[in-house]
């Protein structure tokens, strides 16, 4: 059976440290746009940590939520692309084919999670920062949309290796950069088609929820709500 890649993000474990944000930039050759472009809303954080305030001082609550591309099963960004640059791959990922993209930006317009980013300018890396590029990932140029791919380069590398060694992929054999780096182990990645995988089991947790479920996008990222202390009943 095909793999169907999914993720679980546990908001009770996430501490908002942003190791995932930094790891993603390093892995995926994401451009740093600079202060002027960032002020124009053009910074490209494929994964971001959202911060929500509730209440007023001193009864104030703050919650964090890391948001990567949700890899929706019914992705609104796919039907709107005139060149099929945004397409649904056989493993359930919403893949972005950079060569096909002509930069209409309609996919970003359609995405309710605001996880798609456009290269308004040709990215610039002051040498020798360019030496850090991951050779497994294309470097995008101006006019191209980009977004989180669940580190598809890592998925492909692992699949090719497993195929060459004539064996199935093992659970936990590889992870996207964000999942691998997370110090609180808040992110889990794996095959949703395997009911025994950690990601499948956690998706069925009583705390499980999805973002904007009413839109019918069927995202493959499941969030586990922050838990409560319950006066020590679960301590």
């Amino acid at each position: 059976m095909e793999h169907r890649w999914g993720m679980v993000i546990d908001e009770d474990r996430c501490t908002g440290c942003e190791a995932c944000v930094a790891a993603c930039h390093a892995e995926n050759n994401i451009a740093t746009v600079g202060d002027d472009q960032a002020a124009r809303g053009r910074a490209m954080h494929w994964i971001r940590v959202e911060r929500y305030y509730e209440g007023n001082f001193p009864d104030i609550k703050v919650k964090f939520r890391p948001v990567p591309c949700q890899e929706c099963s019914d992705a609104p960004c796919e039907p709107v692309c005139p060149t099929y640059a945004s397409y649904h791959n056989p493993e359930g990922l919403n893949a972005q084919i950079y060569n096909r993209c002509i930069g209409t930006r309609y996919c970003a317009n359609a995405c309710p999670y605001l996880v798609r980013f456009f290269n308004f300018l040709n990215p610039v890396w002051d040498k020798p920062l360019n030496l850090q590029f991951n050779p497994d990932v294309s470097v995008r140029s101006v006019g191209i949309m980009e977004k989180c791919t669940f580190c598809i380069q890592r998925i492909k590398t692992a699949e090719i290796k497993a195929q060459a060694e004539k064996r199935p992929l093992k659970e936990g054999e590889f992870n996207p950069a964000c999942v691998q780096s997370c110090p609180a182990e808040a992110m889990v990645f794996g095959d949703l088609n395997d009911p025994k995988s950690k990601v499948s089991r956690l998706s069925r947790s009583s705390r499980a929820t999805k973002l904007l479920p009413e839109l019918g996008t069927h995202p493959k990222v499941t969030y586990l709500k922050r838990d409560t202390w319950d006066n020590g009943q679960n301590a």
């Binding site: 009770d12 440290c17 930039h25 002020a39 809303g41 920062l129 110090p183 301590a235």
Partner: protein, 756 residues
């Protein structure tokens, strides 16, 4: 001539411009002969040690072949070499267990930073102008040796000062030997967010002059007084790991986390219960909680042992710290104090953490002793779920560093002439940025005739150097590290260079060894090793006879295996002998009320500088990934800001982004306002890290540095800077400042609306 030069000359002959049709400049560069054989596209994973903060996490470095534009023999050309591409945590390392924080990930941008110093430099313009000329290593070392050998001061310590950061490795040992053999005073060790107060408190309470380690994975109740332990404090990756397990790693079993502070930090945002206590009163709150536990007979006073004995009134049950009395002093209701105390005592293992602002007060030491006593009372000292002290690996050379002067005392001694310094060496420290203007450090440095720096960047301190001998970046160096916290195992991390040096830099420990040999005499004898690698090999060999993570027995095999694994560690060594210095002869401590600089009438706000998630104490401001990474609480990028309570802002007519002038009795600065629902109405906060005058293209002339306006107030026993004890006043400048937010930023706003 050697093979490399011969082949290089042939290459110049054949790779002529005429053969190249596309005219691209890089194709006109010659190709140097590669020094290593790597298959393009195939990654090799090498061990590493992260030095981005003192935690010392273990790394796995992904090295792949690539083409680097480098200068060799004075010629710019292309070199195929192994390049570090990605950093991951070393899964086997006891501190970080395969995980890595944002600073760790950004380490690649230290090695590949465009502003790195590539050659030894000699000052060619006025001091501080930043004008330098490139010289050779021979010239640089000759000059350094010449200056050092000309220093004389019979009967007194040599007028040489070595300024460095806290180092827990054999570089520290090397520096100590070097200075001692020269007859100079011990190194001056400085970092702004120093741990002096906490280490002293731990020495008094528990017998360990050391940072604490917390077994959060097994804790049921964690109360943190001001410590940003999930962000920037102590050993963040290890603490995050334990925290994650405490929350959801034990099915049916979830620990409670309470954070006590005056400003909602990234760490505090994760708390089940967030408690606002007036700045500097956290120790009083800890004693209030302890009082309830004692008065309700949930524990007996003696349970706290030595830690309890450090507190005045402990054995009598802390009569002055009733919930009502403490409520008045801290602002935390009496009922809440009682409930917290009962919860803690009923849900053990319970552990108290203290760090950050509560220790940076005039009563900082007493606050720490109070929290330590609470730990003693709760029975969490060296018990599962509690507070531990990382054992030392049995390496004979690792003695505790001798105590040197503080930076403040160094500056005073130079200015007054009581402790003149003719030569200053700077390594891994930037106190000109990281010290209050009130210390007048820059003025003092003006009186030092010779300053040499080993750093990789021209920052505020190294720009005053006459000579720069640039170090390799850590990925290009032999690195070792002895973690002081973050694990209950004894650990000695080690890694060889993951890649060859890009530029004409030299490992500073090797440079010091070279200098020592040229100086000869005592110094040469004190440092017999030819290279730092030899010193490390000898030091690590002493671990061979102890059971640990390395199984090889023969010397050479052991050395190879230690490098492969990224270090040596052992769970067999569970305790280190207590490291006790001179015990304070003073009576048990009273937790006094904190003293603030500036009257409340004229300076109505407590000023709270805090370690920023992106830059720490400012050292990572030159990394573009960190400038663009949105701050978790504010989502701000490339900015600095002043956090202000929404009601206070309304009252003063301040809107988001308004440029404010912030003035203490010692200076003023400007920063845009950030409306922060999580900060107390009479507290304002500012992240540390921006406001560099010189630190490369990404960091320089950006924002403001809160350290500059701090009062030189100290915690009296340790002399540590009480950086949270300054009061300020605020006025609107009348225009907007630069505040770039990621939140709400995914659409282009017209210029007028950019300060959302």
């Amino acid at each position: 001539m050697d093979r490399r030069n011969f082949l290089k000359i042939s290459a110049v002959g054949s790779a002529t411009v005429a053969l190249d049709a596309c005219g691209k400049p890089e194709h006109q560069l010659i190709h140097f002969i590669p020094e290593e054989e790597l298959i393009p596209g195939v990654a090799e994973w090498k061990p590493g040690v992260c030095t981005q903060c003192p935690a010392g996490c273990g790394l796995h470095v992904r090295v792949m072949e690539g083409e680097a534009e480098v200068t060799r023999h004075g010629q710019l050309g292309l070199l195929n070499m192994g390049l570090a591409k990605k950093l991951e945590g070393n899964p086997g390392h006891p501190v970080n267990q395969g995980r890595l924080c944002a600073w760790g990930q950004a380490g690649l941008q230290v090695t590949y930073n465009p502003d790195r110093i590539r050659f030894p430099l000699k000052r060619s313009g006025p001091r501080g102008s930043g004008e330098y000329q490139e010289i050779t290593w021979e010239e640089a070392i000759k000059e350094l040796v010449s200056h050092l050998s000309s220093l004389k001061s019979p009967g007194k310590p040599l007028p040489l000062a070595f300024l460095t950061g806290p180092l827990y490795d054999h570089r520290s040992v090397l520096i100590e030997h070097f200075l001692e053999a020269l007859g100079a005073s011990p190194a001056v060790r400085y970092e702004f967010f120093e741990q002096t107060v906490l280490c002293r408190a731990n020495e008094l309470s528990f017998g360990h002059h050391q940072l604490p380690t917390f077994d959060l994975a097994n804790a049921n109740y964690v109360i943190s007084f001001g410590a940003d332990f999930l962000g920037t404090w102590n050993s963040p990756v290890a603490q995050n790991l334990g925290y994650g397990t405490m929350r959801q790693g034990r099915p049916g079993h979830r620990g409670k986390f309470v954070q006590v502070e005056a400003r909602m930090s990234q760490t505090g945002a994760n708390a089940d219960e967030w408690v606002y206590a007036k700045p500097g009163t956290e120790g009083l709150l800890a004693l209030g909680v302890a009082h309830v536990i004692l008065s309700e007979k949930l524990r007996i006073a003696e349970a706290a042992g030595e830690a309890g004995a450090c507190i005045d009134g402990w054995s009598k049950g802390l009569p002055d710290h009733t919930p009502e009395a403490v409520a008045k002093m801290t602002g935390v209701e009496a009922g809440r104090i009682q409930r917290l105390a009962r919860e803690m005592a009923a849900h053990t293992p319970a552990v108290a953490i203290i760090g950050g602002a509560p220790l940076a007060q005039t009563n900082g030491l007493a606050n720490a002793l109070a929290a330590n006593a609470l730990n003693g009372l709760l029975g969490s000292v060296e018990k599962p779920g509690g507070i531990f002290f990382t054992p030392q690996p049995p390496m004979p050379g690792l003695t505790d560093p001798k105590k040197g002067l503080s930076v403040r005392a160094l500056a005073e001694g130079i200015r007054s002439g009581s402790a003149p310094v003719e030569a200053l060496l700077i390594y891994n420290a930037n106190p000109v940025f990281g010290s209050p203007t009130a210390w007048r450090l820059q003025e003092a440095l003006g009186k030092v005739s010779f300053i040499a720096s080993f750093g990789s960047f021209v920052d505020e301190t190294s720009i005053l150097s006459d000579l720069i001998l640039p170090d390799h970046s850590y990925l290009e160096s032999w690195v070792d590290n002895i973690p002081q916290s973050g694990t209950t195992e004894a650990v000695a991390s080690l890694a060889p260079p993951a890649m060859s040096p890009l530029h004409h830099t030299r490992s500073t420990p090797d440079v010091l060894l070279d200098v020592a040999h040229q100086l000869g005499g005592n110094v040469g004898k004190a440092l017999p090793w030819k290279t730092y690698q030899d010193m490390l090999q000898a030091a690590f060999d002493s671990l061979r006879s102890h059971p640990g993570s390395v199984s090889a027995k023969a010397s050479d095999d052991f050395w190879s295996e230690v490098q492969e694994k990224g270090g040596w560690w052992s769970a067999e060594i569970t305790k280190s002998p207590a490291r006790r210095g001179a015990k304070s002869s003073a009576a048990p401590a009273k937790v006094a009320e904190p003293q603030f600089d500036g009257s409340p009438q004229e300076y109505p706000f407590n000023f709270l500088p805090y370690a920023s998630l992106q830059f720490g104490d400012g050292r990572h401001a030159n990394l573009p990934w960190m400038q663009e990474m949105p701050d978790t609480i504010s989502t701000a990028m490339w900015s600095v800001w002043l956090e202000i309570n929404p009601e206070t802002a309304d009252r003063l007519g301040i809107k988001q982004g308004d440029l404010l002038e912030v003035a203490s009795q010692h200076g003023k600065l400007q920063a845009p306002a950030l409306i922060a629902p999580g900060i107390a109405p009479d507290v304002v906060a500012m992240p540390v890290g921006q406001g560099h005058e010189s630190y490369g293209r990404y960091a320089s002339q950006r924002g403001a540095n809160p350290i500059k306006i701090l009062a030189a107030q100290t915690e009296p026993e340790t002399g540590a800077l009480a950086w949270a004890s300054t009061r300020v006043k605020i006025t609107r400048v009348g225009k907007k400042g630069q505040l770039i937010l990621f939140a709400g930023g995914l659409r282009e706003w017209p210029r007028e609306y950019r300060h959302r």
